[in-house]
């Protein structure tokens, strides 16, 4: 009886053991830019503009603005600094929204380019698409509320395009590669277009109001 119990328990345990090893879990962390953005945002919400300015001057957001100056609307860094000095929370939010929309747009443009490269297997293409979409969302998600408050149509358009793109690169049933992950290019292009327009209109309206 003991032997039978042992064999039964062993068979049940061993057959399910292959995927049962505890290897921990990974929770994606904020990078330096998103961390600094949150610090600035919370300081602005608490109306501590002096702290927000200090965090901006010494943080990764400003460093990234300088690194990406060539592809960002002209004068974004100075305008953000000026808004912080004046204690204009809405204007700070708008400038940061433009910055993160630009980061997300550039990622969408690069994703579209890489997904269009010939000679790539569907598995690799789908994996690349998923990684880019994750990176795009990490940035866009930070400012989606600010986008929705100013231009709800753009917010909805980005979200819909994002969902559609995710559907094309998501693994099919049984972890098989999706049929045609290159289809994700179309919604990703739409994300880039919508964000480009948003950046343009927001920068223009920001200039007009300043």
């Amino acid at each position: 009886m003991a032997l039978a119990t042992t064999i039964l328990a062993t068979v049940i345990t061993i057959t399910s053991s292959a995927a049962a090893h505890h290897v921990g879990s990974y929770v994606p962390r904020d990078n330096a830019v998103t961390t600094n953005f949150k610090q600035i945002k919370f300081s602005v919400q608490a109306k501590r503009f002096d702290v927000a300015l200090q965090l901006f001057e010494s943080g990764a957001v400003r460093a990234e603005m300088r690194a990406q100056a060539a592809v960002l609307p002209a004068g974004l860094e100075e305008a953000t600094r000026a808004a912080l000095r004046e204690g204009d929370g809405l204007e700070v939010e708008r400038r940061l929204m433009i910055f993160f929309a630009a980061l997300a747009r550039d990622l969408a443009v690069e994703a579209d380019r890489q997904l269009g490269e010939p000679g790539v297997t569907p598995e690799t293409r789908a994996a690349t698409g998923r990684k880019f979409l994750e990176a795009i969302w990490r940035y866009y998600n930070l400012v989606d509320f600010a986008v929705a408050m100013r231009d709800s149509k753009s917010s909805v358009a980005v979200r819909l395009a994002f969902d559609e793109a995710e559907g094309y690169v998501k693994p099919a049933a049984g972890s098989a590669a999706p049929d045609d992950p290159a289809k994700a290019r179309q919604p990703i292009q739409r994300i880039a277009q919508v964000l480009s327009t948003l950046i343009e209109t927001s920068s223009t309206s920001a200039r007009r109001s300043s």
Binding site: M1, V23, G24, Y26, A135
Partner: protein, 181 residues
């Protein structure tokens, strides 16, 4: 040949078993100390190896995407070392405790030796899987390394431990139902 064990007296397992168990604990301590002392060097080594194998890790050449991938692999690389440290410590004690039960309760020499061998090899080998997983992550990625560690170490050594433990459970239950005369 069978030996009538007096269950009221705890018997020590063979010395080689104690040596293996203590070696496992000693390796865990060395691993833990090395992990703390060489944390930066280990992370740098792993990162360099991962950057040298962009295709394995699915790096796309865009910092905002790649940093997340590298971060996940480095977190798992570190987790593997930590899990080796903890499992090797714990399994060392498990080996001592369970082989002591086997030595005391198993009457048949063959059964006693088999259970002891399974518990010792399984218990000492299983934690090495975490070390192997961690060491292979930079070259094969977290999932590829996990598959190798799983089939080379975790499944065989883990199964040996599980089988021996259930065998021991059965033996103890049997001794309760049919007490020694």
């Amino acid at each position: 040949m069978s030996v009538v064990a007096n269950a009221s007296v705890w018997r020590l397992p063979p010395r080689w078993v104690l040596l293996v168990a203590l070696l496992s604990i000693a390796c865990a301590e060395i691993g833990g100390a090395a992990m703390a002392r060489f944390k930066v060097e280990l992370a740098r080594w792993a990162r360099d190896r991962m950057l040298a194998r962009p295709a394995v890790h699915g790096l796309v050449g865009v910092r905002d995407v790649d940093e997340r991938i590298l971060d996940e692999a480095l977190v798992k690389f570190d987790a593997g070392l930590r899990l080796f440290h903890m499992h090797a410590e714990g399994m060392g004690l498990v080996i001592i405790a369970t082989t002591m039960v086997a030595t005391t309760m198993a009457q048949s020499v063959a059964v006693r030796r088999t259970i002891t061998a399974l518990l010792t090899t399984g218990g000492a080998g299983y934690p090495v899987g975490y070390l192997l997983w961690s060491a292979l992550i930079p070259s094969y990625g977290p999932d590829g390394a996990k598959t190798i560690a799983e089939w080379l170490v975790w499944v065989p050594f883990g199964s040996a431990t599980i089988a021996a433990l259930w065998w021991l459970v059965g033996l103890v239950a049997l001794r309760m139902l049919r007490p020694e005369k």
